[in-house]
């Protein structure tokens, strides 16, 4: 898929827009919009390769599902600013190799801006899809190893306000489920701050991981794939979104990912 097939969208007050494929190219009747926002600050540099592999693993796992044709993915990174790695595009047009150089590990942490952009972009594109009769729900996943320290949006409350606005407008039929994954490289002090951020930001779920290593990201890939599966299923059945538990003991990669599509 070439860049020329993406349409560019502004997000009103936000200085960060988003891109997405036009609705003329969509053949299914409903879509789950998945946004993965990944920390690209200097401190994550040591895990850059593992995170790139993690993103590739998510795409690979989801491509094997029966609901693969009903998934769209957008990936953004955030360091000093929010950068869109690619806009909303059909999962089947994503390849694991697309993420080989996604994370470079440079800059500070624009967590608030990235979260707001992810929420507003998903909501805006969902509205567009809904106007063309597509059923739609959404999943936003934010992965970070540190607290916000470089956003134009100064506080997590602004993220919370953006999330509340989406929930009240009810434009996303099946709702927007949101997960914050805290990758604390130490013993948990950062996760305590991120837990508080989650509450202020009105995120649905917080997964706090400590003593993070490379192999942790393989488990994260599995967890995100299962969460995508769950959100896609709730769109198909009309049931509510469900928060899945993160099981650190689950053997990542053994006998393939455990997906319930």
């Amino acid at each position: 898929m070439t860049d020329s097939q993406f349409e560019q969208f502004d997000l009103g007050n936000s200085s960060f827009g988003f891109s997405a494929i036009g609705t003329n190219d969509l053949e299914a009747s409903e879509y789950t919009l998945v946004t993965i926002a990944v920390d690209d600050s200097t401190s994550i540099d040591c895990f850059a390769s593992a995170i790139n592999d993690c993103l590739g693993e998510i795409v690979l796992a989801c491509r094997r599902s029966q609901r693969a044709d009903n998934l769209m993915i957008r990936v953004v990174t955030f360091g000093n600013t929010v950068v869109e790695h690619h806009g909303f595009k059909l999962l089947m047009n994503c390849a694991p190799d697309d993420y080989k150089n996604c994370i470079k590990g440079r800059g500070l942490t624009a967590l608030n801006d990235a979260a707001i952009n992810a929420i507003e972009a998903a909501n805006s594109y969902a509205q567009r899809l809904k106007a063309d009769d597509y059923g739609v729900n959404g999943l936003v996943v934010v992965i970070t190893d540190g607290e916000n320290n470089h956003s134009t949006a100064a506080s997590a409350n602004l993220v919370g306000a953006a999330m509340k606005k989406v929930q009240m407008n009810e434009q996303i039929d099946g709702g927007l489920h949101s997960i914050l994954i805290g990758c604390d490289q130490g013993s948990g002090s950062i996760n305590a701050i991120l837990k508080s951020w989650q509450k202020d930001a009105n995120f649905s779920q917080f997964i706090g991981l400590t003593d993070v290593k490379d192999k942790t990201f393989a488990k994260i890939a599995q967890f995100i794939s299962r969460s995508i599966s769950s959100q896609s299923q709730s769109l198909a059945t009309g049931g509510p979104s469900q928060a899945l538990p993160f099981d650190p003991t689950q053997n990542a990669g053994a006998a393939g990912p455990s997906l319930n599509f």
Binding site: T23, N24, D25, L26, E27, A28, S29, E30, A131, D132, D133, Y134, G135, D173
Partner: protein, 258 residues
């Protein structure tokens, strides 16, 4: 240049355990069959009838709509043979039919029993036609398999159908002089046609909502890409959570200009 695409949608009615409506499309036909709820295995019968009509409509060289009327008449015998092989009772084929078939640049609609059709030209309002039968007892094609059954039907109900329409056509444009089981609206020009839809009579079963509104809602397409009929129907049912006790089936053509 117009490109023809098709799609269909079926949903079970609130009072049914099994969906007895069936909808299918081919590259040149859209077909909906509605099995009689009091006839055993009519869910199978509806599907077999639809598939045999699809087979016949693709075979041979057709000169006009009368050839399709002949095919539809014959299709019940093919369906009967198939149902016999599967050990299904004769009355499993008690099913109505509404079909739209494209031949060259003409669209023909066929009814065997009750149902509705709609079609729209670019820049014009849509046309809707509904065929209904006296006392809700349609003349099934399957009656032609059993003379005694057919005679009894004619004695009690007769071939009394009413035709209602809305849009740019008037009832005088839709004569019913042919008293065969098959009612036909033929030779609709496909030039500048935007879409055409066939509906089972389930559109009449929405509580408090007239069928015209249901058909209008189901045919208010936003675009015609991919599963356009399913998309529209799912959105319609999601936005209008009105109880309908009968199954609803619809199948559509779209004519997209490139």
């Amino acid at each position: 240049m117009s490109i023809l695409s098709t799609d269909s949608f079926v949903v079970i009615g609130g009072s049914h355990d099994i969906c007895q409506d069936y909808a299918m499309t081919t590259d040149k036909s859209i077909i909906v069959c509605d099995g009689c709820s009091s006839s055993q295995d009519s869910d199978f019968g509806a599907q077999m009838l639809a598939r045999s009509i699809a087979l016949y409509s693709k075979s041979g060289i057709k000169k006009g709509y009368t050839d399709y009327i002949y095919d539809i008449t014959c299709s019940i015998f093919l369906a009967h043979k198939a149902s016999g092989i599967m050990g299904l009772p004769n009355n499993s084929l008690d099913a109505t039919l509404v079909a739209g078939i494209i031949q060259e640049n003409k669209l023909h609609f066929f009814f065997a029993g009750d149902g509705s059709v709609a079609w729209k030209y670019k820049g014009q309002d849509a046309n809707y036609v509904t065929v209904q039968y006296c006392l809700g007892a349609p003349e099934y094609l399957s009656y032609s398999l059993d003379k005694a059954r057919h005679d009894m039907y004619m004695e009690v109900y007769g071939n009394k159908r009413t035709i209602k329409c809305a849009g740019n056509i008037e009832e005088i444009d839709l004569p019913d002089v042919n008293k065969s089981p098959i009612y036909c609206i033929n030779d609709i020009d496909t030039d500048d046609l935007e879409w055409a839809v066939v509906f089972s009579d389930g559109v009449e079963s929405f509580q408090g909502v007239p069928s015209s509104m249901v058909m209008h809602g189901l045919s208010s397409f936003k675009n015609f890409k991919g599963k356009f009929m399913k998309r529209r129907a799912k959105r319609f049912f999601s936005d209008n959570k009105t109880y309908h006790d009968d199954d609803v089936a619809c199948a559509a053509f779209s004519f997209i200009n490139e």
